[in-house]
Each structure stands twice: as structure tokens, then as C-alpha cells.
Symmetry: C2
Subunit: 372 residues, 2 copies
């Protein structure tokens, strides 16, 4: 029964909750549960829906409420987590509260190296724009030095490194800086459009190339990862995947959740059986970038995401077609709004009926070593 | 891929959330998702853990917060639910707020009979004791008249019917009263220990009898269900299952969530294709009790529960054995408390790695007609 499940893994997932749809913990919890992880879900906000709808209702947890929930776990001896995945927190104080939880779990596991691993998604913004308060940035800068793996997007990597990513060399520089400045052993920059940086004449062809969304199937999205060497230098790999030119909310959370499961699987399957008992699961220096558990995990993560998002596009298009006549007789403004809501709803990630694709993706992507 | 999934079903699940473990919506959401349902989860409390630990931290949603989240769904056109499952609400006002949501969804679906179905679990108490405020009882009494199916346990059935269940005849009387007093078309009383009422000399043997827990494998637990006839009289069936003499938190939520999925499946598979377009899915009078979709659904629900709880008992016993030496050197009081926490944690339902048993149970139970 458990052939396609990852090793038993207890995860504390700290992120947002939405009643409807799949983002934040609503996404991450189901993804990790589908992979076989036992998930404790500490929700940092309680919203009706994701903010892409442009309107939502609900409440945010205060830093005190977040801390209080964790203290409830502590007093009942319910803190034997193998992994923490921390995502969106609604204030600087909340980021600090989550950071304190991560550090407390690290202290509890201090005499058992490798028994606790913290994946931190520094949710701050995207596409050149912060969508959190300014004071969240220093809160993250003080926190991520404790994490084992961080998952910034291109913009967040720029914010953290202080380096504007305009070329392949500045990209490598940003990762090197994140490794050294924050002592973070593992980094994945979750989406870089290299085509916007350079003309990537020598990109390997993804296998198989199955992107079918709109007219952009020539575009590639690149994910860059690195596990530090003992010198502090990066050990870089890249994976190119067909870009699906469609905006889906929650894909960052899906990426993070899949990474938790697949990284733990890769570490447990690593030829170096001692790796799982090594602090932060940092492979020995003679392990090539493409042989890193981080690289092997990311390959599978991207394959699953590609499959689920392809199904989502199919379902979205069918739903948009089926509901095309629903525009009513309102003012132009209300019709524009209705149409936005219709399209946003249609683009919700189709997770529930595609969970098998998380465990058994049909496509395959390969990491390649990236020597800048 | 979807061979073992129920028909596509959008559920609004309103119940409690706990960070750790599986009760309330944390249980119901994963159960229904595993069956293929798309679940919108509106959480009525945010607790660290279930109350069986005897201590917990967290917050309760107010009635206004519950209403507000629903209004967030309404303003974004996210209310096209096929089913609502409502469970624990933390106050009388919260019960009324949830009731108003159910009625609003019914109004929205009024011109499409059978397109919306409301399963209500009137969580009030157990074993002769209320564990909610007294004013929650009249709040439920005013609400359940709108539900399509209610799932009281024996005590809650007594509270709602005003009839003390001391015999088979008073049990039948309680169900008849619930049908008539509240116009609820479907009722399942989720656990009756008939052995405490009478000596059930003529009970059919469950197939197969696989209860293995402690020394009680001679005991049976009986579930009684009924779908009303057009006369208002009950149409009673019973299913006897081996009692697992172990207390697990969240089993009521597991029962309710499985019932949502299996009832919808049974109605869609019913030989009467028109049933799904019939208000409240009430079968014609010539359908025998054992042929009711409610009976067929409950058979599968109980089979899955039996399988998952058997696995839970195995895992619990292994965990208790593995952690047996963990008692430390505290006062007698702290040792007693530690032991309680250890046992409570060990008894958390093992859901994540047994979800296949929800879809494909290995045992089979059969409903029998119950003519009192």
C-alpha cells in the first residue's frame, strides 16, 4: 500500500488557510498528506479565498495566537516533527513568532543531527513588488539564517541577496550571497525566466516537452538550486521546464510541499546512508550538483507540478467554455468584476482528483550541472 | 485514475480545526478529499489539539467571523456546493450562524431540487453528558428542521427526541419522533450498544468478524438508520459491526465525512436515476430499507471505519510499546498526566497512510431491515 509513499514524515506546516480553493496550508497540507506525510497545520490567516480574487474576508492570526498554538503543542508533547515548512505569515511579528518556533524545534532536536529540517518559503513578493509590509523584510533576514532550505522566487532572492538578477552571473552571485550571508545550506530559486536575462542558446531540451498552454510552449522556466560546499561555495544545478503561461495561485505552496516530501525521500534513498544523520542533510563535497538529493527531489517536484498544472489548464478551459454565457446584465464595471471572478475561480489548481500525479508523475525532467 | 473516486462533489465543511491530529475538519477534510471531493473548509475553532488531551490552546471563531467568511464566499461566487457538512460549532450563536449558511445555500438551490444536500452532525454530547452550553440545544432544535440528514449519537438522539432510549422500541420511537418533529428525511444514529438495552439473541453475524481489540470481540455496535416514507413513518435498517473497545477521537467526524461521499455515490448509482433530482434524495416508498442509498452508503462507511480503526489499534499498540520507557522522574501527578498524554497521542487515528482503505475497504458489512 505504501509503495508510492515517501518515508514516514511528521511535518509542522505554518501558513495561511483559505476556506475555498488551494493555496497556503490548504494546498500544502493536502499535497504532503497525499505523499504520505502526517501534517500538523498551524494556520496563520483564516480567509474565505485567496487574494487573487481581489476581495476576501476573514481574519489574521496575531503573533501571540501563533505562539499560543505552538505552546499548546509543547504542553502536550506533540512536537516530534521531522520537518517544518513555514510559508506566509501576516506580519513582521508573525514572521518572528514562526522563526521562534523553528528555532525551538531545532533546540529540541539539537542532540540528534539531521532529525529536524526546516524548509522556509520567504513569502514577500513577486515580479518586482513587495506584497507584505516593509518591516517583514528585515524579519525574514533575521530568520532565514536558521533555516535549512529556503525557496525564494527571483524577486525574493534579489531582496535577500541585495543583488539585482539581470544575468546568469548575477543569478549565481545572488545564490552565493544567500549561502554566505545567511549560512543557509540549501537554496532553490523557484522561477527564473532566463529568456528575459539572456538568450539561452544552449539550453537542453526538456523531456518530453508537453507544454500546451496558449502560444508560449517555446518558453522555458528555469529552476536553480544549490547545496553549499564545505567551502561555502554553491553547488549549482538547473532544471528547465516548459513554461505554462498561465497564472495559478498556490503553485509556490505546491512546490514547497512537494519539496518537503521529495527531499526527505531523496535523503533516505541517498547512497550515503549517513546523510540523514548529518546536520542539515548537506552532502559531502564529492557529490556532484546533479547527484544532490536536492536536485533529485526538485526533478520530481517539477514533474508533478507540470502534470497537475496541465490538468488544471484543461479543466480551466473546459470550465470557462461551459460558463461562457454567464455574464449577466450589469454595469460595465460589475461585468468586468464578474468576469475576473469567473476566470480566477476557473484557474483554481485541480488538486483533489489529481493527487496520484503527485506521487507518480508522468513526465520527467533532468537536472543539469550549472557552471556559470 | 478516478475509478475508485465518488462522483465530483463540492462540499462546504464547517467544523473545528486542530493543528495536530485528526478530528473535526482536520479529519473530515482529508477523508472527503481522499474520496475525491473538493472541500471548502470553514473552521469554527482553531485549537492546538483535540480536547481529549484535557488541555489545549487556541481560539474559537465567533458567529460573526463564521458569517463573515461565508459572505466572502458569496461575494466571489464561490457557493456552488453540492453538499454541506456541518459539525461542531462553539456556541449557540455559532450554531445559528451555521444554520443560516445552510438555509442560504438551500435558497440558492431551491429551483434545482436535489442539487444541494445538508448533512448535519448535531455535536452536543455523548454518554449521557452535554459538552456544550445548555443554550446550544435549543439552537440545534431550531436548526435541524432544515437539514436533510442528521447524525446524532445515542445521547444526542435522546436530547433531540426527548425520548430516553432504553429498549429497541424506544429507539424506534426516538427515530420516528425525529422524523416527524423536525421533518428530517434521513437519520442515522451512529452508535447504539444494543447489548446494554436488551440481549440481542437474533443478531446477524457480521461478515467477516475481525475485531481484535482487547477482550470485547463478542460485543457489537449497532448503527440504526432511516429514510422517511411519504407517510412520515421511518424506514429502518440496522448494521451491526464488531465493537472496537477503544476510544478514538474524531470517529464521528470520519463517519460523517465518509457518509457525505458514499451517500452521494449511492444516490448517483441508484437504479432510480431521478433520485438525484428529488428534494432531499428521498427514495420512493417501494424501496425497501436495505435498498436505500442511505443503507448502502452506511455499509461502506462502516467497512472503511473498521479497517482504518483496526490499523490504528495496531499502530497505537506498537507506539505504546516503543515509548513505554518514557515515563520520567516526576511527581506522581505529573507522571499520571504524562501517561495520559502518551496514550492519547498514541490513539490518534492513523489516517494519512490508510486513505486507500477509505476508498477500498477490505471488510463488508450488510444492512438488515429492522422491523421493531
Amino acid at each position: 500500500m505504501s509503495a508510492d509513499l515517501v518515508p514516514e514524515t511528521r511535518v509542522l506546516a505554518v501558513a495561511s488557510h483559505v476556506v475555498y480553493g488551494h493555496v497556503g496550508n490548504k494546498m500544502a497540507t493536502l499535497v504532503m498528506q497525499s505523499m504520505g506525510c502526517d501534517v500538523a497545520a498551524l494556520n496563520t490567516v483564516h480567509f474565505s479565498n485567496h487574494t487573487g480574487y481581489r476581495q476576501f474576508k476573514g481574519t489574521r492570526a496575531t503573533a501571540e495566537e501563533i505562539t499560543n498554538l505552538y505552546e499548546g503543542l509543547c504542553q502536550n508533547n506533540l512536537t516530534d516533527f521531522d520537518v517544518m515548512l513555514s510559508g506566509y505569515a501576516p506580519s513582521a511579528a508573525a514572521v518572528e513568532a514562526v522563526g521562534a518556533i523553528g528555532q525551538d524545534l531545532q533546540r529540541k532536536a539539537a542532540d540528534r543531527p539531521g532529525s529536524f529540517f526546516w524548509v522556509l518559503d520567504p513569502v514577500m513578493g513577486d515580479q518586482g513588488r513587495l506584497y507584505v509590509n516593509d518591516d517583514v523584510v528585515p524579519a525574514y533576514k533575521n530568520t532565514i539564517q536558521h533555516a535549512d532550505l529556503i525557496l525564494p522566487n527571483q524577486f525574493e532572492a534579489e531582496v535577500l541577496s541585495g543583488i539585482k538578477i539581470t544575468s546568469l552571473s548575477t543569478l549565481a552571485e545572488a545564490i552565493t550571497t544567500i549561502h554566505s550571508k545567511y549560512s543557509v545550506p540549501h537554496v532553490i530559486i523557484t522561477s527564473v525566466q532566463l529568456s528575459k536575462l539572456t538568450t539561452p542558446a544552449t539550453l537542453p531540451t526538456p523531456t518530453p516537452s508537453t507544454a500546451t498552454c496558449s502560444n508560449t510552449n517555446q518558453n522555458l522556466l528555469t529552476v536553480i538550486g544549490s547545496t553549499t560546499l564545505s567551502t561555502g561555495e554553491p553547488r549549482l544545478f538547473r532544471i528547465d521546464v516548459p513554461a505554462l503561461d498561465c497564472f495559478f495561485s498556490g503553485t509556490g505552496d505546491m512546490f514547497a510541499a512537494l519539496t518537503v516530501a521529495r527531499l526527505r525521500e531523496a535523503v533516505f534513498n541517498d547512497y550515503d546512508a549517513g546523510l540523514r544523520d548529518t546536520k542539515s542533510w548537506v552532502s559531502k563535497d564529492d557529490v556532484r550538483a546533479t547527484e544532490l538529493p536536492l536536485a533529485k527531489a526538485t526533478e520530481k517536484v517539477l514533474a508533478s507540478m507540470h502534470d497537475v498544472l496541465e490538468r488544471t489548464i484543461e479543466a480551466r478551459d473546459a470550465q470557462l467554455k461551459a460558463t461562457a454565457g454567464e455574464a449577466g446584465v450589469g454595469t460595465e464595471e460589475t461585468e468586468v468584476k464578474k468576469e475576473h471572478l469567473r476566470r480566477t475561480k476557473a484557474a483554481e489548481v485541480r488538486l483533489v482528483r489529481n493527487v496520484r500525479l503527485l506521487r507518480e508523475p508522468t513526465v520527467e525532467f533532468k537536472a543539469v550541472e550549472w557552471v556559470e
